[in-house]
C-alpha cells in the first residue's frame, strides 16, 4: 500500500461579505484544486461561507508558544497605547 499521503492543507473561510477569512480546520488533498473542492464539501455544507482559501500547511509559519511571554508581554505593559489611559476634561463629549 502507498505510504505517500496527500499533503495537508489549512482551510480559511469568509463567512460573509465584509468579514475576514477565518481558519476553520484542515484537510488532505493532492493539489489546490481538489483542496478547494474538498473544503467546500467538508466545511461549507450549510452556507458557512462565500469564499475559501486553502494553504498548504507546510507553508504556514507559526510563532512558538513558549515565546509567547517575550513576544506579547511588552504590549500588555504599554497601557498608554489605549485611549482609556488619558484623562479628558469634563466638558468634552465626543473624543
Amino acid at each position: 500500500m502507498s505510504n505517500r499521503e496527500w499533503p495537508l492543507w489549512e482551510v480559511f473561510i469568509r463567512s460573509k461579505q465584509g468579514l475576514n477569512h477565518k481558519h476553520v480546520g484542515s484537510l488532505r488533498a493532492p493539489d489546490a484544486t481538489l483542496a478547494l473542492a474538498n473544503a467546500r464539501d467538508v466545511y461549507t455544507r450549510r452556507s458557512e461561507g462565500i469564499s475559501i482559501w486553502v494553504i498548504e500547511s507546510n507553508n504556514v509559519h507559526a510563532s512558538d508558544p513558549s515565546d509567547a511571554d517575550s513576544l506579547f508581554e511588552p504590549s500588555d505593559t504599554k497601557v498608554y497605547r489605549h485611549p482609556t489611559f488619558y484623562e479628558v476634561p469634563d466638558g468634552i463629549k465626543h473624543m
Binding site: 500500500m1 502507498s2 505510504n3 505517500r4 499521503e5 496527500w6 495537508l8 480546520g25 484542515s26 484537510l27 488532505r28 493532492p30 493539489d31 481538489l34 464539501d41 467538508v42 455544507r45 450549510r46 507559526a62 512558538d64 508558544p65 513558549s66
Partner: protein
Amino acid sequence: MKTMDLQELEKRFQEKIDKEIKIEPNDWMPDEYRKTLIRQISQHAHSEIVGMLPEGNWITRAPNLRRKAVLLAKVQDEAGHGLYLYSSVETLGADREATIDDLHSGKAKYSSIFNYPAVTWADIGTIGWLVDGAAIMNQVALCRCSYGPYARGMVKICKEESFHQRQGFESLVTLCNGTPTQKAMAQDAMNRFWWPALMMFGPSDDESPNSAQSMKWKIKRFSNDELRQSFVDATVPQAEILGLTIPDPNLKWNEETGHYDFSPINWDEFWQVVNGNGPCNKERIEARTKAKEEGMWVREAAMAYAEKRALKKTA
C-alpha cells in the same frame, strides 16, 4: 525555552487546565494527555466513518425522495465529522493513515453500536433518534474539552447532529402514526436498539479506570454513568410521545432522585461486541479495509496528476 523539569511543566499544564485555558497543538502537554487524546479522537473519528455503513445501506431503499435526500445529507455529515476529527488527531502529531490502519487491524476500537445491523426502515429512524441522540449527549459535553481543536470540532459537529436526531424522530412519528404493521416495526427497532444505545456511554464508572485522569485533565466533564442517566431522562418522555414501550420492566420514575431508574446493563454483551464478536464487526472492518485498498489507485492517480502538473508549471 528554558529547560524546566518535567514536574514543573506538568504543574503549569495542570494550572492552565484548572484555569480553563485551552491547550493548543504546539503547547507543551504530558505524553499521556497526548496519547489519551490520540486514542479517543481517532476512535471517535472511526465511529463516524463506520457509522455511515448501516445507514448508507438504506439510501437506495428509502421510502420516498424526501427521506432519501435527508438520509444522504445525514450520511454525508457523518463523513464530514470523521474528517474534522482525523484533522484534529493530526494536530497532535499522529499519522492519520496509521490510525486508520489500526482500525483495520482491529487494534483501534470504534463505537460498539455500529456493529448492530440496520435490518428494517424503522431502524434508520431509530438510529437517528437514539444513536445520534446518545452521541449528542456525549458530544455536547466534549465541546468544553480542554484540547482546543477537539473542542472546536465538537462545536461544529453538535450543530449538525441535532438535525440527525430530529429527522430520525420525525421518521418514527410517521411510522408510529401509520398502520399497525408500521408501528410494530418501530417498536421492534426500539426493542433492538435501546440497550445498545445505553451501552454507547461506555462501562460503568467503577469499571472505567482511566476516567478519573480524563476528568482531571478536563478531556471529560461528566462520567459515563452521569451521561447515560441524562440520556435516559431525556429519552423516556420522547418514547411516550411516540407511544413506544421501552424494553425494560424496571424503568420507572424515581421521585426521590428526580431520575428514571433502569435495569442493570448486560455488560457481557457489551464486551463481546467491543472485542469483535458483535453481529457485524467483521463485515464493518472488511468494508472499511476494502474501501481503502480498492480506492488506493485513485489516491495514487490524483497525486501523480498533481505532480505532473506542478512539474509542467516549473518547466
